[in-house]
């Protein structure tokens, strides 16, 4: 099914008798997703409104992420949260996945840039929330609820986003000798000072990576100050500016795990894991490839680990019973018939 208008989509959902799987580009489905009949969102495409001087973009959910990038770049702007995607990834998929890249430490996640949504709920009703202005506390913030909801609450038809200017200059610093665990205190030191860091990551073969962006003189001054500060952790050199695009688990192994933790917990977790494929957000995000069904016993930590490839969905630790009950209730109230089965 590939509706071309919101009205058609609403009708489809109203008439649906069995679960549907909402698919944008289908470029990053999680285990367990994509089971029902496919509801292809790419028919709902195109920019509705773009006001660069108001930093506002309103776009239909099935629009290709690449198209959005081009429209913004033509005006010297970007999506500050740096979403990742492949040929075909859609902006609706980005919003529904809360897909957020390295700049999250500075500019926030997709959910922070998302200022409005339109979606069709499980009963086929069109719901609007938020709008096109960046400050808005009118009624409940269902925009945040929809961000990252992975198609479980409704099908996004249109999203409004706050855009940002592309910084004129970027510099990458590397501490090439540091392993993942040793990188964490260096990243914390950079993020803990007045350097306006816009990326703090670790990659095998690159070591610790730190990015600074902004006006030319400012970047130059911060590079000098930060280099001095970080020299206690090892040799600071110029890093590969292309490394930032390698931070994603591009080719998923049999089992890729995504772990979110406090940076201060990361070193302990890493001690229980094989070498990670990347660290991001100053150590708060760990990606690691594991053999099938080999997730190790981890000491208690304040975040969670999710298997993002593999046969079955799995989250460790399982959500507490009250959170699980609230999530179930919210889902069943927005989608009483369970039309948007989604992932577990």
């Amino acid at each position: 099914m590939r509706p071309e208008t919101e009205g058609q989509l609403a009708e489809l959902v109203r008439d649906a008798a069995a679960p549907l799987s909402i698919i944008g580009g289908g470029t990053r489905l999680w285990p367990g997703e994509g089971q029902g009949e496919r509801l292809d969102m790419t028919g709902l495409a195109g920019v509705t409104l773009y006001e660069p001087e108001a930093l506002t973009l309103v776009v239909r959910a099935g629009t290709a992420l690449e198209d959005v990038r081009q429209v913004l770049a033509a005006e010297g702007q970007m999506l500050a949260f740096e979403p990742w995607g492949r040929q075909g990834s859609t902006i609706g998929g980005v919003a529904a996945a809360n897909a957020s890249g390295p700049r999250r430490v500075q500019a926030g996640a997709a959910r922070d840039a998302l200022i409005g949504v339109r979606f069709v709920n499980g009963q086929g009703d069109v719901v609007r929330n938020g709008g096109r202005v960046m400050k808005n506390v009118t009624g409940y913030d269902l925009v945040k609820l929809m961000a990252g909801s992975r198609g479980q609450l409704g099908a996004l038809t249109e999203v409004s986003l706050r855009t940002a200017p592309i910084p004129p200059v970027a510099a990458t610093l590397a501490l090439a000798d540091l392993d993942a665990a040793a990188a964490i205190p260096a990243l914390a030191s950079a993020l803990g000072g007045p350097f306006d860091v816009s990326g703090a990551a670790w990659l095998p073969g690159h070591g610790a990576l730190i990015r600074l962006e902004g006006l030319a003189a400012s970047v130059k001054a911060r590079v000098a100050d930060l280099t001095a500060r970080l020299s206690v952790f090892g040799t600071v050199s110029e890093g590969d500016p292309d490394a930032w695009s390698l931070l994603r688990p591009a080719a998923l192994s049999h089992e890729t795990w995504r772990i979110v933790c406090r940076p201060g917990e990361a070193a302990t977790l890493l001690a229980h894991l094989p070498a990670p494929s990347s660290l991001d957000w100053g150590g708060a995000l760990i990606h690691v490839d594991l053999p099938v069904d080999c997730f190790p016993e981890l000491p208690p930590f304040s975040g969670h680990a999710r298997r993002i490839s593999g046969a079955e969905p799995l989250v460790v630790p399982a959500p507490d019973p009250i959170t699980a009950r609230l999530e179930r209730d919210v889902k069943s109230r927005l989608d009483p018939r369970g039309i948007f089965a989604g992932a577990a």
Binding site: V137, L145, P194, G264, V330, R333
Partner: protein, 486 residues
Amino acid sequence: MIQMPPPDASVLAQRQAIVQALRDALPGAVIDDAAETRAYECDALSAYRCAPLAVVLPSTTEEVSRLMRLCHDLRVPVVPRGAGTSLAGGSMPTEDAVIIGLSRMTEVLEIAPGDRLIRVQAGRTNLSVSGAVDGLGFFYAPDPSSQLACAIGGNIAMNSGGAHCLKYGVTTNNLLGVTLVLMDGSVVELGGPMGEGSGLDLLGVVCGSEGQLGIVTEATLRILPKPAGARPVLIGFDSSETAGACVAAIIRAGIIPVAIEFMDSPCIRATEAHAGAGYPDCGALLIVEVEGTAAEIGEQLTLIRDIATRFDPIEFRESRSEDESRRIWLGRKSAFGAMGQMGDYICLDGTIPVTALPQVLAGIGRLSRDYGLSVANVFHAGDGNMHPLIIYDANKPGDLDRAEAFGADILRLCVQAGGCLTGEHGVGIEKRDLMSEQFAPADMEAQMRVKDAFDPDWLLNPAKVFPLEVSASRRERRLNRPADAA
């Protein structure tokens, strides 16, 4: 005039028994004496008042949980309260409601500079959160003007903003987690590292839910390293239109200052009379603040000066010292106080797309003439969050009604321009009945279903946010169901 639903007669009839049950549950924390509950009759929307059934001041999450379970079982509505600075009537009680106030819950629970976070009890004031990490070189970014008084729990409930949110975002962008007590007394942790839990973003919908989904007892907040320095410039223009065009040009040039504040001439004149900050007498002025090291500040200000020059500013005043910076901010910070000197006022906070600024300001001017009431504009221009202040005389019969009608028309104008009713103060009771201007029935139905999931009996702050007729069937459902224990 804003209406409230009639109180639940069965609750009022049980008054003594309810107060006694609260006392038994939490000795030494219950206030029901009429002289003492008066302090809780209203918030900063002080034209509307009502004494609550009782006030309880717990000290721990466990105590909040115990009280909530009790009120739940007795079917008594609860109104959460922080510092009572809401401008929307969010924390105003009803006669049949118990206020659970967090003023005793002010502890810092954890500071983790390496993880760039602080965990506090939710009754702690906004400013004292920054105070707790100041010595470590950090600060908490959202800075509502009420920050000396208002509590973090209230900030979370209202998703409050501040002057610096153009760069740092509002509360929701700086909130990593909460401990939430639900109406039935159950306690849940939402959020996590980076503000992310493993499932739906329930934290995101709790933030801004105006105390209707649960009571926040603890909060984990993102803290940021303090910038090396900050410097404001003051730019005066001949008209509001020119000032608005200059804001758009600055943003269009790729510069995002930490703050762009706007004042129109009625506001400038009033604050000059009151605070004597030395502002130029002109059509409108901007205060633009930039941050960083001296070199960074210089670089940004050069660009801003180049842009501003294209708009023939009457004055471009760059601060060269701490004292000059303070003087530039002085008038802006005393603007509300100055308005208070001119008479009683209603402060609105509708947001508009910044591109609609000239058109909306002109519309407000027309309405001001039609209603015969003066209005001053002072607001966060970078994000379009307006703050029209309508001056009226509370002692003049009919003046409040007229001012409210004028305010409602301004908010309609904001919605028509593509904006919204409230950018940071919240809906409360004040804008409750205007919600239908912005939302279709299905939009509000979806929001109310979220409340159904958290508070199925609609006991928590029930008469707020949604127009009374829209929430009536849900609120009245409870009245037809007997209490468990009473």
